[in-house]
Amino acid sequence: MKAPSFAYAKAKSLAEAFELIERPGARILAGGQSLIPSLNMRLASPELLIDITGLKDLQGIDRRPGGLRIGALVTHAQLQRSDAVDQHAPLLLQAAAHIAHPAIRNRGTMGGSLALADPAAEYPACALALNATIVLVHRRGERRVPAAKFFKGLFETDIRPGEILAAAEFPKVERSVFLELARRHGDYAIVGLAGVADASGRRIAYLGVGATPVFAEQASRAVSLNAALELLGRDLQPQADLYNSSATKLHLAKVLLSRAWTTLSKPH
């Protein structure tokens, strides 16, 4: 199926992007690896696509005192090649390997994944586990939103009209583990787990278990694996998908928790 007709503008500056985004029916186009399929299935019909891929302000990976700032336009492939990510946020590196396939990782972006907020995607769950800060820019200034408040519903985020997702900032953690169960290499997972741990404790987030990525708050605080498994049932009320019931998803989430537990529970 062919995409419906729409207009296209490549923003030359953030200022121009802010102006264009006010137009009716405008949508941001970054890597396009989720948006373009939806256009090709005529599931989306924007009037204007604003291509932001030329904006330097949204690119690059920078080490900052508080952690790592990853520009919205950083592709999965760039992230995979980054030493800074390897040192500061290896969870993202582990997660990126699960995202689709090489040709898609060459175009798909960190910002696009976070802004789309697909509950089955890898980065939103990582952002939640890592307590990332999402940086949103607007022509009137910048707004910083913690990941826990950013993902609001199914494909719904805290991005307000006129705002563009510019970057995400990730604090450094000591240990991390990313696991997922997908029936085929590169598929969206049935369930995935993004977990981190350091002296302040453990943070375990799940993908594929609800309308948003879900922070398993009670299980994260549990003192033992058995307790965590018990508590996970309170954290997660997974929605069934085409192939898996809610009970299956919860079971698989527990399987992942068991596998991740050792890494997340090493003595400090």
């Binding site: 995409a3 007709s5 029936r183």
Partner: protein, 796 residues
């Protein structure tokens, strides 16, 4: 003995087989490797119009009103047509066959009139200057619908509370019963009786190239040229001729490169018929290429069976009887012209097929539902028959405490028992079950694997080994379709022409879809005539050029088309020797052809280059005797007739590991031992087997068209319908036993179905073998992690 004058499998003689049996790479592949193929969508035509279809969003609904006003005003739109408009140019069809007694189906139009019977059935067509514009206009069609009761489940269909086609009286398209007698006695006297019900998901072919047709009507000569991604060009020529009312000779079907077919592209599709009709109507070339979303809704689906099978066995482990009850749901129409009764019919014919029991009873129902239509897809019926046979055989072996391989050895029909008539009535010329079993066990080192399995179980690693013996229908005679009244050729023909330079042109009615048909024809032709492979050019897929024939389906290309090529090659060689004898003034019997030259038969001294023979025959026949006319173009045909089908046999094994925590299955290795008679090109045969195995793995682990209770297809995209990808597939070891068919000089049997036929059963048995110590069993394909977890009672 001279080159290939005896049957290639002649016992007790040494025959020069030339290229036959050699793994030569397929000639002419650089074209495809460089992206320079000619798939339908690659062709460029002036004034080409594009068609897109408005398809029913409902599984069953009356079309109360179609409003085309806005669509007709859309940019680039040439025409918007409903079913009645297209019916003026294309007559409807009814897909029944006389030998499937009692089969019934309603008339079907190219575009549905008044009523849509499945989600995705086309109810209007938009013709525009581009595909995008056609789709834009489709979105502007306004329709009023009245929803009708939907029949989705096969049991509901059978119960008949809602009848989809009231004129037919019930939802039963076809039913068949078969009984040798004595089955009840066998079961009542048996020490071991086992029973299980197996479910087979509905799946589809997912050819990477969507269905494609470009029809070009020439009003000046009332002729239609159809560029068509089809497996059966002559069948389609007949269909276009009869349903569009154009004389047969004025219809030419050209099949260039085809991007996968597997049975998907051997049927008559309403949207393709509409495209041809629209070309006639608009007097211009019109193209339709099914996009991926409409492929899922309109390419034929297959399988969807529920089969209860019982097996009776003596205490020594001898199988006494099979008892089968199969139901299959086919959508709202039997598919033209092969019908949708064949798959169920095959299940009845083939169940229990490898074994020597004498008592067999089967009951089978084919029912209508409001889902997409199903029809013959690769290995038609075999995956069902093999899996339920091999599944119940393993259950019996388990109950007896016998090793599955030993249980099979005890019960497989003996290799010296042929010819043999199986209790379902089918006849086997010669099979080699025991040889293939022995070779398989040796190749996989069965004993070592069993020992390793036992060792690993102690570490709570659950590996499974699954076997699946099988028989397969290949080289079909007219008994398949022709006797039922279908105008589908069971014979094929080949024309061989010696070119003046000594090259050979082969034209054959069997088509190429990537199996390597053209390569093996080149091998056979080169061997039969005595030229090198590089001298042979093969042309297929053009009703205007090739002899008449059936095309490519039911594993008939090598066995039937190949024999025609062999016969034509031998005849041409004889004619060439006549020319050489005349030129050289020698006795023909003294001459032979080898290495692109006429040689002395005994001394192999070169007498004449073929280029010289060609030069004289074509340009200087004045130098030949006055009463001599050279005949350097030869046509021969072949039809298998002694047996209804030339059965082949084989056996597969799967080694896999089940993770009882997650329910995930990891495939470790797969083996396939096949007896397809004379192997013409082992590399191509192995690739047929491997590709087929992976399609079978798809059925076992991944693929299922999932419908909601309202008849909506829920996973109709490549993101949601899971096909096997490289990452999960195992390496597949192939080996061969060669039992040539004596019906032909070539001795080749088919091989296209084998992999797909056996793999699902082997995988199922391996999973159940892995699960056995945990007391679980799965019987519903595909075996998703959830289904395995449910069997393990890890989730409800």
């Amino acid at each position: 003995m001279g080159k290939a004058e005896l049957p290639l499998h002649a016992p007790g003689t040494k025959v020069d087989r030339g290229y036959i049996g050699e793994s030569v790479p397929r000639p002419g592949l650089q074209r495809l490797l460089q992206g320079r193929g000619a798939f339908i969508d690659d062709l460029r035509f002036p004034r080409l119009a594009h068609v897109a279809f408005f398809r029913s969003p409902y599984a069953h609904a009356l079309v109360k009103k179609l409003d085309f006003k806005a669509a007709l005003r859309a940019p680039g739109v040439i025409a918007v047509l409903d079913g009645r408009a297209v019916a003026e140019y294309c007559t409807p069809w009814v897909a029944v066959l006389a030998h499937l007694k009692g089969i019934k189906s309603p008339p079907q139009h190219a575009i549905a009139i008044e009523r849509a019977c499945w989600q995705g059935e086309a109810v209007a067509a938009v013709v525009a200057e581009s595909r995008s514009q056609a789709e834009d206009a489709v979105a502007l069609i306004e329709a009023e619908w009245k929803e009708l009761p939907v029949v989705v489940d096969m049991d509901d269909a059978l119960a008949g509370r809602n009848v989809i086609h009231p004129d037919l009286g019930d939802n039963i398209c076809f039913k068949r019963e078969h009984d040798t007698g004595g089955v009840d006695d066998a079961f009542s006297s048996a020490v071991v009786v086992v029973e299980e019900t197996f479910h087979f998901g509905r799946h589809t072919g997912v050819c990477l190239e969507g269905r494609a047709i470009l029809a070009d009507y020439n009003a000046g000569e009332h002729s239609l040229t159809v560029y068509h991604a089809t497996q059966a060009p002559h069948m389609m020529q007949d269909i276009f001729s009869r349903h569009l009312n154009i004389p047969e000779a004025n219809v030419r079907v050209i099949t260039k490169d085809v991007g996968g077919s597997f049975g998907i592209k051997v049927h008559v599709y309403p949207d393709e018929m509409a495209t041809a009709a629209i070309s006639v109507m608009l007097r211009r070339p019109v193209k339709f290429v099914a996009d991926r979303l409409e492929s899922f809704l309109s390419d034929i689906h297959a399988r969807e069976h529920k089969a209860k099978v019982r097996l009776a066995c003596s205490k020594e482990g001898d199988i006494l009887a099979f008892d089968l009850d199969d139901v299959t749901a086919i959508g709202p129409y039997s598919v033209y012209p092969r019908t949708s009764g064949i798959e169920g019919n095959q299940v009845v014919n083939l169940t229990g097929g490898p074994y020597k029991h004498q008592k067999y009873r089967a009951k089978m129902h084919v029912v209508f539902t409001n889902k997409n239509v199903t029809c013959q897809y690769r290995a038609v019926g075999h995956p069902i028959a093999v899996a339920l046979t091999e599944g119940i055989v393993d259950i019996a072996a388990q109950k007896l405490g016998m090793d599955p391989a030993e249980f099979r050895r005890r019960n497989l029909i003996a290799d010296d028992a042929y010819p043999y008539t199986f209790p379902s009535g089918i006849k086997f010329e010669k099979l080699s079950h025991h040889k293939t079993l022995d070779l398989l066990l040796q190749k996989m080192d069965y004993k070592a694997l069993r020992a390793e399995q036992a060792e690993l179980r102690k570490q709570k690693i659950y590996r499974g080994i699954g076997l699946a013996s099988m028989i397969e229908v290949t080289n079909p005679s007219p008994a398949f379709y022709g006797v039922g009244g279908a105008r589908i050729s069971a014979q094929d023909g080949a024309t061989l022409r010696l070119e003046p330079t000594g090259m050979l042109t082969v034209m054959c009615s069997v088509t190429e879809q990537g199996q390597g048909t053209e390569a093996i024809f080149a091998q056979i032709a080169a061997s039969a005539v005595g030229v090198s492979l590089a001298k042979v050019k093969v042309i297929t897929g053009d009703t205007g050029i090739t002899p008449y024939g059936g095309g490519t389906w039911a594993s008939r290309g090598a066995g039937i088309g190949g024999e025609a090529v062999l016969l034509a090659g031998r005849a041409l060689r004889s004619n060439m020797l006549d020319v050489a004898a005349a030129m050289l003034k020698m006795d023909k019997a003294e001459l032979d052809i080898a290495g692109n030259a006429v040689v002395h038969k005994l001394t192999t001294e070169k007498k004449l280059e073929l280029a010289e023979l060609g030069r004289v025959a074509y340009f200087r026949p004045d130098t030949l005797p006055l009463d001599f006319q050279s005949e350097l173009t030869v046509t021969r045909h072949y039809t298998p007739r002694q047996y209804g089908f030339t059965f082949t046999n084989g056996i597969q094994a799967s080694l896999l590991e089940v993770d009882p925590d997650s329910g995930f299955v990891k495939l470790l290795k797969h083996w396939c031992v096949e007896d397809s008679g004379t192997v013409i090109n082992p590399m191509l045969v192995d690739e047929q087997l491997r590709g087929g195995v992976v399609q079978g793995i798809g059925a076992a682990l991944f693929e299922e068209c999932i419908y909601g209770p309202d008849g909506q297809l829920l996973n109709g995209s490549m993101a949601d319908y899971l096909v096997p990808m490289a990452g999960e597939m195992p390496d597949i070891v192939c080996a061969h036993v060669e039992t040539p068919t004596m019906q032909s000089q070539l001795g080749a049997k088919g091989v296209g179905e084998a992999g797909t036929a056996g793999a699902p059963g082997a995988i199922m048995n391996a999973i159940n073998d892995a699960l056995a110590p945990l007391g679980a069993r799965v019987t519903r394909m595909p075996f998703t992690p959830e289904r395995i977890l449910k069997a393990l009672k890890k989730v409800d």
